[in-house]
């Protein structure tokens, strides 16, 4: 997949501007950015839902604008939350896609059964989609991307509308998809950390960084470590300043009423000393959690939303 000077303007507003990004090989690439950054817009240009104002979107070397049919020949997609013809059943809707994508007749049944099994929709396979809940429809949409054994899979926030178990299932489905390129946008950084090897971040339609998660974390997460500390009662200014004075602590940020994130010196080897210090304050600390490196990197790269 390659974007070359990819640009999309809506009137005078540039939703994506001059995006250059080349992802290849067999791996999972997370596509991150705040709301309105241009993630969906980029993916729509890659799937022929909208036409680029300038530049090109290539899949397997084929320009999607010039020949969508060839470009998407071995690519499956899930953009935003598609709807299925309401009078069809999941089995029928997926059969339709199998035929369009050229899944051999002999394999269709097996593929459909497997895909619906993975998203736990087997029980509903012969009910009409029209009566399904949002999450059930999204499960069928996820199943639809697994039918044709594609080389490239483009997923735009695939776990939208799914229940907690559904999200975990999508995560494990994506992790189980070996030997292919997956390009997935998501706001769930834990999900991205777990399933992706690389991340691309965009903001205001421009690429900020594209690298492996380790490199991005090392470069932008401030180098040091961070822990999130939870308290039994509200955190006040006094407590924040007392934690700040502990040795090795660099910054203390209150994330919500009862939580703070403590960043500490990268050279601090004995974290237990720090935890002892915080516990010693007798302020009612109840939890210590490793703060996600990707989240730190994200927050330092993307300063403000919109």
């Amino acid at each position: 997949m390659e974007a070359v000077q990819l640009t999309k303007n809506f009137g005078s507003f540039a939703a994506v501007s001059g995006l250059n990004l080349k992802v290849q090989g067999t791996k999972c690439v997370g596509f991150l950015g705040p709301n309105g950054a241009g993630k969906t817009t980029t993916m729509k240009m890659f799937t022929g839902l909208i036409t680029a104002t300038g530049g090109a979107a290539l899949i397997n070397g084929v320009d999607v604008t010039k020949d969508k049919k060839a470009a998407l020949a071995s690519c499956s997609t899930l953009i935003e939350t598609p709807e299925i013809y309401s009078a069809l059943t999941p089995r029928e809707a997926l059969s339709m896609l199998c035929e369009i994508r050229g899944v051999p007749k002999a394999e269709r049944r097996k593929r459909i059964d497997e895909s619906l099994g993975l998203v736990k929709m087997t029980e509903w396979e012969d009910k009409r989609v029209g009566s399904f809940s949002k999450g059930m429809k999204q499960r069928v949409n996820v199943a639809s991307t697994l039918l044709s054994d594609p080389e490239v899979i483009i997923l735009d926030e695939p776990s939208t509308g799914l229940d907690p178990r559904g999200m975990a299932e999508v995560r494990s489905i994506v992790m189980s998809l070996k030997d292919r390129l997956i390009f997935m946008s998501s706001h769930l950084l834990a999900e991205v950390t777990e399933v992706c090897q690389e991340v691309a971040m965009i903001d205001h339609g421009k690429l900020l960084v594209y690298d492996t998660i380790e490199n991005v974390t090392a470069k932008f997460a401030g180098g040091g470590g961070a822990v999130e500390v939870g308290f039994t009662r509200a955190v006040d200014e006094g407590l924040v300043s007392r934690v700040s004075q502990l040795s090795g602590v660099q910054t203390v940020t209150r994330t919500n009423e009862r939580h703070i994130v403590v960043r500490f010196d990268p050279n601090l080897t004995a974290r237990d000393k720090l935890f002892e210090g915080i516990a010693g304050l007798k302020a009612g600390a109840v939890s210590f959690e490793q703060s996600s490196g990707l989240e730190d990197a994200y927050l330092s790269l993307i300063k403000e939303t919109l």
Binding site: L49, A70, T77, P82, E83, S86, L88, I100, E151
Partner: protein
């Protein structure tokens, strides 16, 4: 990595047609449409059977060949335009706009398939569904006709059914173009109905009566052949009638009032309908190819 055989566009059109037809066939709309024509047919059957109007069954003493034409002219000719227009609007009016408004296009379009294959496949499905409606209506009229005039089906009725189908093809092409133009299903259906039922009729009248120009550019003018073929004598292509007389002496000759009416001949009517079909199909496809999935 498995390399899959590329699927030909023709086979993809077939797929789109089959599943869209299945969707139509199960949807409430198809049965509403069926209900409408069954209601019209039932009313016709009951009213004609009870009141035995001369417009349907002929004046006593009239030759049977005239009476039977009168029956098909009133029963079929009186309603078929409405049936064609409503079918075309129901099945075509939101065929494309629905893909945007209902977001079903997000499921279908990002696949290795040309947009034109989706368009053509959906068009054929809509044609199949609305042809069934028109044929059911024709069958009921025919059954009634055979009851009153056993063994006597005028060739004009057969031609009229064929012309009605050509009109349906042209009208569906037009409603599909409308459905590509608008993003809202309700608006595209409504605009299709208003246009075919009212606007074109007004244009026909204004053009011929007020301006005196033959409305050769109007689809409903071309569709006139569907009913005109059922007249005992096919109406003349152009006819000028004068009303009033010379009033107030020799200088006021302009006070005379003239009305020109036009009727498309059969070849001309077919030509208009076929041109509508081609032009609107290309226009609609062109619009759909350029339409963006933004929401």
């Amino acid at each position: 990595m498995s390399t899959k055989a590329r699927v030909g566009s023709l086979s993809q059109i077939g797929t789109i047609t089959r599943y869209n037809f299945l969707n139509y066939f199960r949807a409430r709309r198809f049965y509403v449409m069926l209900g409408i024509i069954l209601l019209i047919s039932l009313l016709l059957t009951v009213l004609v059977g009870y009141y035995r109007p001369v417009s349907f069954l002929g004046i006593p003493g009239e030759p049977v060949s005239l009476a039977v034409l009168g029956f098909y002219g009133a029963g079929w000719g009186g309603f078929i335009s409405l049936v064609v227009i409503i079918s075309a609007a129901f099945f075509g009016g939101d065929a494309i706009s629905g893909e945007f408004q209902n977001r079903t296009g997000y499921f279908l379009v990002p696949n290795p398939i040309r947009r034109s294959a989706i368009y053509v496949g959906k068009w054929i499905a809509a044609l199949a569904a609305s042809t069934i409606i028109v044929l059911i209506f024709a069958a009921i009229i025919l059954a009634n006709g055979l009851y009153y005039f056993p063994g006597n089906v005028p060739w004009q009725f057969e031609q009229s059914v064929a012309f009605a189908w050509v009109y349906l093809v042209a009208a569906l092409s037009l409603t599909f173009a409308f459905s590509s133009l608008f993003k809202s299903s309700a608006i595209s259906i409504l605009m299709s109905v208003i246009l075919l039922l009212i606007v074109f009729g007004v244009i026909d009248t204004v053009s011929s009566v007020v301006v005196g120009i033959e409305p050769w550019y109007s689809i409903t003018y071309g569709a006139g052949i569907v009913t005109n073929i059922l007249s005992p004598v096919f109406p003349p292509h152009m006819q000028t009638q004068s009303f009033g007389s010379v009033l107030g002496g020799a200088n006021r000759t302009n006070a005379r009032f003239e009305v020109t009416t036009f009727n498309a001949t059969v070849p001309e009517g077919l030509e208009i309908l076929v041109i509508y079909f081609i032009v609107m199909a290309l226009l609609g496809l062109w619009l759909f190819e350029r339409k963006e999935f933004t929401s």
